[in-house]
Symmetry: C2
Subunit: 127 residues, 2 copies
Amino acid sequence: MRELSEFAPVELLVCTTCRRGLPIEDDAQRPGTLLHKALEQADLPTGVELKAVECLSNCDQGCSVVLRGGPSRWTFVYENLNEADDVDVIVEGATKYHATADGLVPWRERPVHFRKNCAARIPPIGA
Amino acid sequence: MRELSEFAPVELLVCTTCRRGLPIEDDAQRPGTLLHKALEQADLPTGVELKAVECLSNCDQGCSVVLRGGPSRWTFVYENLNEADDVDVIVEGATKYHATADGLVPWRERPVHFRKNCAARIPPIGA
């Protein structure tokens, strides 16, 4: 078994402009921003870098995040995430993704929300 | 103005396993495979490489394609594409994407189908 440190670092991209379909006042913090803040406080493993991004263009199914990590891993987009309820789901999914070389966590080991709310997956660049 | 040849090559990934929500017999060709075949015959510009991929995991909104191209371009996933009607749309969208350094075709210049059927966009790796 290989050490995790042999694998490429992982990026967890969070769309911070997401309104999650809600009518948000201009001076209020958006659900995507709140999700990013919650993840800053969460227990993400070393090797998973949290990044704020503007608009993943999946606005009707937000909040959304992306997991990607180097030229050998599949990239995944997950949707319908709630800033209040789904932080643990994202941490679990990111941790398991980080522990793979190719990004493909076995189906039954993926968080149920991830199984049911995958917007898209994109093959590795180096495949 | 820079020459197109200065930009990184573009990949057009087509999900060939897509059933486009139809009940497809086991021995029949799938809509995704037919879309890939139609694009093989289409007038894609030099520098856009067509690639068949298995399952982009956007099955409910297929057929789906991905446009990506090097570390400086945004990646886009487009959905609800029909193998019979949308080949020209994909060629137009891929051609315009290829003509950008960052993958961001101005909104009004994008094919209408692309504007209305973007499943997700993912920022450049090198950004």
